[in-house]
């Protein structure tokens, strides 16, 4: 085993190289802004009847087809997201067409509308991956999702998803003050449901979450979460990890498979509901790089995205004097706002502040 300093140094070279190459292999498609839930923490402010209509699939397809000449389409995963993608009646058809063009695809879902029939249809359409949100036991989940039936629906979805030998899937849990103390028993619940992979997030203060302080973890909670993940990873009964959302200092390789690396604009792009071309959909819309209705997607990918590929500008605000900047590179793109004058929050700083 190489010392941490050397592996971190190698990772920096790796990150720089990946940034220079910027090979696209992860593409979000925000196919709808409609949603069947109204979660307290939603970053996209979706509603049942979104003002922006769903994007016609043909528009998305035409925009991304040139990717087939630039890359091996099989190496590109299209993550269909929303809103709730299951609200699109043509979802299986969209997915199958993508797969026939060689792209891999999957969905991010709250599971509310996921049933045996749609499960079968999506598998037939070549779906290969699903991420399901499950935020703790019934009371906590239903509270966050603001719906009394959301837990039972999501668990039914979970049973279907885990029954498939084909799917790559994971459960994601947003951790907040109300569910953090039930993580241990919830882990046992997931294991009993044969879940193999589990990702935990904190909730960023964006969208509806910005106004709710109980969704933010305290410093003590953050340490609890990191220790919990590190322990769950060590006992290897379920592949548990902290999401890619932040550099976490000494916890780095204890809570994830690899070092923090925000790949927005480096390997990750998106086509948003109005045709905007960006990276992850949760990034401030000020960072939009083009629009499929005006620009050639591949051109934008190759020639723009400078703001995400050269993050020197992030040396401002609390990041300006940060000794960890060389490893962290200014944190998560989704935590920067249009003023670009400082990151909204730094989990590493919070963790360090709580050190005794």
């Amino acid at each position: 085993m190489l010392p941490h300093k050397i592996t971190q140094y190698l990772h920096n070279i790796f990150r720089k190289n990946e940034t220079n190459l910027h090979i696209l292999n992860y593409l979000f498609w925000e196919c709808t802004q409609r949603c069947n839930l109204h979660c307290l923490h939603c970053g996209s402010d979706c509603i049942a009847d979104a003002k922006t209509p769903d994007m016609p699939f043909e528009d998305f397809l035409q925009a991304i087809l040139p990717l087939k000449d630039a890359y091996e389409p099989d190496s590109i995963t299209v993550a269909i997201t929303g809103g709730e993608p299951l609200l699109r009646k043509d979802l299986p058809q969209c997915g199958k067409t993508l797969r026939k063009h060689g792209f891999r695809w999957g969905i991010v879902t709250n599971g509310y509308a996921y049933n045996a029939e749609i499960h079968a249809k999506l598998l037939s359409a070549g779906m290969g991956a699903v991420t399901l949100s499950l935020d703790g036991f019934e009371e906590s989940h239903n509270w966050l999702r603001a719906n009394q039936n959301s837990f039972s629906h999501a668990v039914k979805a979970l049973d279907l998803i885990t029954s498939s030998d084909r799917l790559f899937y994971d459960v994601v849990t947003c951790v907040h003050q109300r569910n953090i103390r039930e993580l241990e028993s919830f882990k046992e619940f997931l294991i009993s449901k044969h879940v193999k992979a589990w990702r935990l997030f904190t909730i960023a203060p964006i969208g509806r979450a910005a106004a709710r302080s109980e969704l933010r973890l305290t410093t003590e909670d953050l340490h609890f979460l990191m220790d919990f993940i590190a322990k769950a990873r060590a006992d290897k009964r379920i592949d548990t990890k902290f999401s890619c959302e932040a550099y976490v200092g000494n916890y780095e390789t204890k809570v994830r498979d690899c070092y923090f690396f925000c790949r927005a604009g480096i390997n990750i792009a998106s086509v948003l509901i109005d045709g905007s071309i960006s990276a992850c959909p949760n990034i401030n819309r000020h960072f939009v790089q083009g629009n499929i209705y005006r620009d050639a997607f591949l051109d934008v990918w190759h020639k723009r995205f400078e703001v995400m590929r050269n993050r020197e500008w992030t040396k401002t605000g609390i990041c300006s004097a940060c000794k960890k900047h060389k490893y962290c590179n200014g944190g998560a793109m989704h935590l920067w706002n249009e003023q670009q004058d400082g990151i909204m929050l730094c989990i590493n700083k919070e963790l360090s502040a709580g050190k005794t």
Binding site: L2, T7, L10, H11, I13, F14, N17, E18, N20, L21, N25, Y26, F28, G43, T77, A79, T81, K96, R99, K100, R104, W105, G106, I107, V108, A116, E117, H119, A120, K121, L123, S124, A125, G126, G128, A129, T131, D165, R166, L167, F168, Y169, D170, A197, F201, S243, C244, E245, D257, C258, Y259, F261, R263, A264, I268, C280, P281, N282, A332, H334
Partner: protein, 126 residues
């Protein structure tokens, strides 16, 4: 020159991929995204026609008694993805006399490629 630099970077990338300590870094997923899909799947497609080669619309094509099924389109075409190497396929006329009346057909299919063409002719019901 640009090409040369890119080639060098790609070589470096492969070196990193070869090093077990960072190869895992290639299997990344975005925080709010799905896992990458590296699974094998097989596209099964074909056309359902009459003995006289006329396409039949609305035939239910299912396999392994599962809920997974497709209906043939106006050109008699169907297609679906599976990961199974052996399929018990069933072709059934479920729309009664609309589009004609045909006898069902069942067959066991062994799949050896990742794209399979399976055209089927159905007998008209007596």
């Amino acid at each position: 020159m640009e090409k040369f630099i890119t080639k060098k970077r790609k070589i470096l990338r492969n070196i990193f991929r070869g090093l077990s300590l960072t190869s895992i870094a290639f299997v990344f997923q975005a925080c709010y995204g799905i896992e990458r899909d590296f699974g094998n799947d097989i596209l099964v497609e074909g056309v359902v026609t009459t003995r006289g080669n006329k396409p039949i619309e609305g035939i239910k094509v299912s396999y392994d008694n599962s809920l997974q099924y497709e209906l043939t389109d106006s050109e008699g075409k169907y297609s679906f993805y599976t990961y199974k190497a052996e399929l018990n396929m069933k072709f059934e006329d479920i729309d009664s006399i609309q589009n004609g009346l045909f006898l069902p057909q069942e067959m066991l299919v062994h799949i050896t490629a990742n794209r399979v063409k399976l055209n089927v002719k159905l007998d008209a019901a007596p």
